[in-house]
Subunit: 344 residues, 2 copies
């Protein structure tokens, strides 16, 4: 017969104390492994706790200690593999500091993000990690949270861990130009503070190579794979189809490669495609994707380390994260000279 009474009395530290014939405080200290309590007692308590199925009450613990050893992680879109390496870095590092990571999905919506932050604050987490947070800087500035909130991949907030957001984009743009491309499309991401540096890099690279900026060559990607269809449609209708594309991220780049191939365009012969992030799949697709390697794992690690320092009240120099680098693969080549695409 399945258990139908969920509110059954739980085993508390007091119950163990009673069973062991000691004071609750001795039980706590035993469970903490304190040297202050005799080894025999410690073992007795441990045994009893196990036998009685004791489960600590984190709520009570948090209440009195005022710390939870939990860090909150607010993630826009769990399914985006971009967060895979990042989360791994975060969890690995958190584990080293005996911290637990709790994730909340924000769906990339400001309202949900705010709810998530508030939720974490109510939970009395020791700190909050917010990669690619969508809420404006002003929100975080006025928040005055009692625990550190560290942003990842964003540079305009009080506490953040990031790496040179323009360097990678610049060098991949220069790569395209050096191959001979002049009509280079840029696919911007969902708008927000994270979006600007790439755009800036795009324009700077054009300028420094004496190429005019043409707003018609800038498209916008909503983050969903399906959207690449629309983008390609728009792009192919241009009087002069660009010879290269610098896409917002690998997802976008791969999606576009797919659609273009379906439409009979060969990558890189007819059109070059470059991505951003260097997700695991980037090496795996055909042709393999030229992209910017983004040090996600390190960003994750460093952000936890930084958060921890702040929480400990230590002076916290902004962490150093390796520079992004370009990975030149097969999806980029010199522009075609003759007819391109399937309208030949």
């Amino acid at each position: 017969m399945p258990n139908r009474h969920w509110n059954k009395t739980r085993v508390t530290i007091k119950d163990i104390a009673k069973a062991a014939g000691v004071d609750p405080s001795t039980v706590t200290r035993s469970l903490q492994g304190s040297e202050r309590v005799k080894k025999a007692t410690r073992e007795k308590v441990a045994q009893l706790a196990a036998d009685m199925g004791y489960v600590a009450n984190q709520a009570a613990r948090t209440l009195v200690t005022r710390r939870s050893r939990i860090v909150g992680l607010a993630i826009p879109d769990m399914t985006n593999p971009f967060f895979a390496d990042l989360a791994r870095g975060i969890e690995d590092e958190a584990h080293k500091h005996d911290l637990r990571v709790l994730i909340r999905n924000t769906e990339g919506l400001e309202a949900v993000e705010r709810d998530a932050i508030r939720f974490f604050l109510e939970l009395k987490v020791d700190g909050i990690l917010a990669p690619m947070a969508r809420c404006p800087r002003s929100y975080y500035e006025t928040l005055q949270a009692p625990v550190p909130i560290v942003h990842v991949n964003r540079e305009d907030t009080p506490h953040h861990v990031s790496c040179d957001r323009k360097a990678g984009s610049l060098s991949i743009m220069n790569h395209l130009v050096s191959l001979g491309h002049r009509d280079i499309a840029f696919i911007a991401g969902p708008s927000g503070p994270a979006s600007e540096p790439k755009m800036q890099a795009y324009r700077e690279a054009l300028a420094s190579n004496d190429i005019n900026y043409d707003p018609d060559l800038v498209f916008s990607f909503n983050g969903q794979l399906d959207d690449t269809n629309n983008i390609v449609n728009q792009m192919l209708q241009l009087p002069k189809v660009p010879t290269a594309v610098f896409a917002w991220n690998d997802i976008c780049a791969i999606g576009m490669m797919h659609v273009l191939t379906e439409r009979g365009w060969r990558v890189p012969q007819d059109i070059s495609i470059a991505g951003h992030d260097d997700l695991a799949i980037a090496r795996f697709v055909d042709p393999s994707l030229t992209t910017v390697h983004w040090p996600l794992y390190e960003l994750g690690q460093q952000s936890v380390r930084y958060l921890y320092r702040l929480h400990e009240g230590q002076s916290a120099p902004r962490p150093v994260v390796p520079k992004p680098t370009t990975r030149i693969r097969q999806s980029t080549a010199a522009p075609a000279t003759g007819k391109r695409g399937n309208n030949a």
Copy 2:
């Protein structure tokens, strides 16, 4: 100057009470919107709370109410898009019951899964959702948790929500047989309780079509995209390369299609590939993937609903979830008659 003192005194209900000149109990009731307190007082308190930047202490709340309005979600692999729809269903439904969802990654490891469960239990969540949990049934049976633990996509545990795990596999196998295939490979997933029904369906389908079961045609997939390379390698070394593959899931199927294409094998002309789950990408790849549509969103919804019922102590009939159905697309066709592959 950035805030360096994180342990600064927090605003509590008592502070508000003092400021408003009322008792703390009145403040709580005001914040809860209780009719028992005068409207004017309620508004005054609300205003004060906002002005003073009050943030409730969930720990204290949980301690006294013995419920947290949080459900824990232990997920093996966040990056697997399989969980995208599932999580969406879960979060949508949870929201309806004013529950928050907290996610913890288990990396598909039993030890981490156990830690996650314990962690949730200590956090005094109202219930735990464990899709594709890896720990053996015995673990959950003996756990005697004080809150309901509901498994999703698994049928051997006390509380679970699932749908007919064999029906989809059977019908896709029959589809392959009806196309004329007799040498059908099966790619099994990471071992575990979730793995068996598909395998059973595979064998049953073979048996009912008078096809001998050949253990050489069964491979094992570790869940990582890269692994499809090894699988294809092994498969192509068989004296008689199968004409169709029923893959563990869409990820596996898509990976294999990719590798096969690289090796010069055409899908479906040279070999048919069928997947399982019907992820969003399944429609998008080329050729589009024949697969089993798995009602993930509904599973997510129902599991929360079921969990909630259990938690409320209500009688909880096992939820009904729509049957999985097959989606016949372009990756399956009748077997080739002549020479296949690139060794022609």
